[in-house]
């Protein structure tokens, strides 16, 4: 009898995009320590291979796949390599995302092609990759898909246009997918990690004080709590790490 992956992560198979740094790297390390068998996707070989080496050094299993989730032609190659390396996938985390051009700029100063490029990576890539994998999950009656959100998806921050739009759309994609998969055994969660001390944050807000930002490792630990708590984090929910921590502290 297969264990419920919402309770027991040891031995589950997971694909994480954007896994070479920041939150993606932190999630990879945390899931590997919990016993998950990982396939990690990023565009840049060197930092990705460093993450893989670190996981292997700690006795975990991780395989690198160098690919760009914004590239239509890469999608079935990612899904195929992942299933070839670790078998049918239990967990899919869409973490890879792009801010678009920096410094961030007003919508009126944003080139149409730049908006399209942000949507390609942040929205259409996750849509395509989920299409390539969630069917197998639904057939097996087992799976969890996580999209990474941002408070930029719900707040109208000037100059955050392209990224915000893509994250708002991604939130809704997750919500609709959860509704469509409601009786399939496949859960879908959207998770806002809050502000973290990462390269992406520094690119967006170069003047920010890192001491005020969460460590990605701490955020990854909360996300694992969410995965393991389907009652508090049911399919279709949009969760926020800072709010979860506040509620947990009460």
């Amino acid at each position: 009898m297969q264990r419920d992956l919402r309770y027991d992560l040891s031995g589950i198979t997971a694909l994480i995009t954007g896994a070479s740094r920041g939150l993606g790297r932190a999630l990879a390390l945390a899931l590997a320590d919990a016993g998950a068998r990982l396939v990690l996707v990023a565009r840049d070989p060197a930092p990705l291979e460093a993450v893989v080496a670190e996981i292997r050094g700690r006795g975990g299993e991780a395989h690198p796949v160098i690919a760009d989730v914004g590239d239509k032609a890469a999608i079935h190659a990612i899904a195929g390599q992942a299933a070839a390396l670790v078998g049918d996938l239990d967990l899919l985390i869409h973490n890879a995302s792009t801010l678009g051009p920096t410094p961030l700029r007003l919508l009126l100063d944003t080139e149409c092609e730049d908006l399209e490029a942000v949507l390609a990576v942040n929205l259409v890539g996750p849509f395509r990759l989920t299409r390539a994998i969630a069917g197998s999950m639904a057939l097996r009656g087992r799976g969890l898909v996580i999209t990474i959100s941002s408070d930029a998806a719900t707040e109208a921050y000037p100059e955050w246009g392209a990224y915000s739009i893509s994250k708002a759309a991604l939130d809704h994609l997750a919500r609709i997918w959860a509704a469509e998969l409601a009786e399939s055994g496949v859960d879908v969660l959207a998770i806002d990690p809050g502000e973290m001390d990462t390269k992406m944050h520094a690119d967006a807000l170069p003047g920010a004080d890192p001491a005020t930002l969460a460590r990605p490792e701490a955020v990854a630990a909360v996300i694992l709590e969410m995965i393991r708590d389907p009652a508090r984090a049911p399919s279709g929910a949009r969760l926020s790490v800072p709010r979860w921590q506040q509620e947990g502290a009460r």
Binding site: H63, V65, I66, A77, A84, D88, L89, L139, R140
Partner: protein, 360 residues
């Protein structure tokens, strides 16, 4: 019958000819009707293998002569690190396979370099075995493993192509809507027309859905001598949950509907190998024909297979040759399309076959 020449996006619009093998009844409809054609308590079993980019192009080591170009088509996994493959000669998908020149004859120990579309070498292979029955059937060992090998296969490989198509097939066109592990050398095409709306309809109609994974092999090599060796032994894996679903279905008198010849061969092959249906991994080279007594499967959803094709022999385990010929004649006359992206046939008896229980 004409082949479909390109993938169809509206999968459930695929035409479906339903044949009752006992009563002789026939119905022209579409895949979308499937939930109404089956009964609550029936069980549909699909093959969830994804299709590999199994076609690789290259050349014999050190031989720049374009006439010595090789195409190799991986045909499933052998022992760990051992990859059976069929060789084809120069030319590409626009030339019908049977009109391609023969590949060079390779000897054990020879090295092949495989290239991507730009001509850059992505992978090398050593011939570790040549089948005594045909020099086109070799076993290869690659120069890398694990993620490095899979990355190279996905970079340099393409799905097997067909000359009667209008344009090259992309990897995304040759996958079912539920594909998982890339075990299939060619798409298990019977399952392609099943979209999730139809699968949802089956569930709401009380029809069960189960799965197995079968490494669908190559259907033809272009060489009649090589073709006579097909199908080669093919790996399959049947989950415990599928065995349980089959047992429960048979206990209540429901019908087992196999989606594709690969599902039939895995299930019947499992029984043939050990006397009963078992969960787990196995290898089958079972060939079914008119004399075969089906032990597990009652019905089959499949493509349009011409009399004389290898798949057609298997259909004779489900229906008499005269019934199949009659159905084929009707389908051809009514404009049904054949081959991978063509139309479908459902051979569906009114009742499950009477048989002793075979459950684990």
């Amino acid at each position: 019958m004409n082949p479909a020449t390109s993938p169809r996006d509206a999968r459930a619009d695929t035409r479906l000819l339903v044949v009752d093998p006992d009563g002789g009844g026939r119905l022209d409809t579409t895949i979308a009707a499937l939930p109404r054609l089956l009964s609550a308590g029936d069980l549909v079993i699909v093959n969830d293998a994804a299709t590999l980019p199994a076609s690789l192009r290259g050349r014999r080591d050190g031989d720049p002569d374009p006439a010595a170009a090789i195409e190799l088509r991986l045909t499933g996994a052998g022992a760990p690190g051992r990859w059976p493959a069929i060789l084809l000669g120069a030319g590409d998908w626009r030339t019908p396979t049977e009109r391609r020149p023969p590949p060079p004859i390779l000897a054990v120990g020879e090295r092949i370099e495989l290239v991507d579309v730009a001509g850059a070498v992505v992978l090398a292979a050593i011939v570790v075995d040549v089948d005594p029955r045909s020099p086109r059937l070799v076993t290869l060992a690659f120069d890398r493993q694990g993620e490095a090998l899979w990355a190279a296969l996905y970079r340099g490989g393409a799905p097997v192509q067909y000359s009667y198509h209008r344009a090259p097939l992309a990897l995304w066109s040759v996958q079912s809507a539920f594909a998982g592990r890339p075990w299939a050398a060619e798409m298990p095409s019977a399952g392609r027309p099943l979209d999730w709306r139809t699968l949802g309809g089956l569930r709401r109609a009380g029809v069960g859905l189960a799965r197995l994974t079968h490494a669908a092999g190559l259907s033809s090599s272009g060489d009649p001598a090589m073709d006579r060796l097909l199908p080669l032994p093919e790996r399959y894996a049947i989950p415990e949950a599928t065995i349980a679903a089959i047992t429960a279905t048979q206990a209540r008198g429901g019908r087992i509907i196999a989606v594709g010849t690969t599902v039939v061969r895995a299930l019947e092959g499992s029984v043939a190998a050990s006397g009963r249906l078992r969960a787990g991994v196995g290898v089958t080279d079972l060939r079914l024909g008119p004399a075969s007594a089906l032990q597990v499967v009652d019905a089959i959803l499949t493509g349009m297979h011409a009399p004389g094709e290898s798949h057609h022999a298997l259909l004779q385990a489900f229906a008499r040759p005269a019934a199949l010929l009659d159905a084929w004649g009707h389908a051809a006359g009514a404009g049904y399309l054949a081959h991978e992206f063509g139309d479908s046939m459902l051979i569906l008896p009114a009742r499950a076959r009477a048989r002793p229980a075979h459950a684990a």
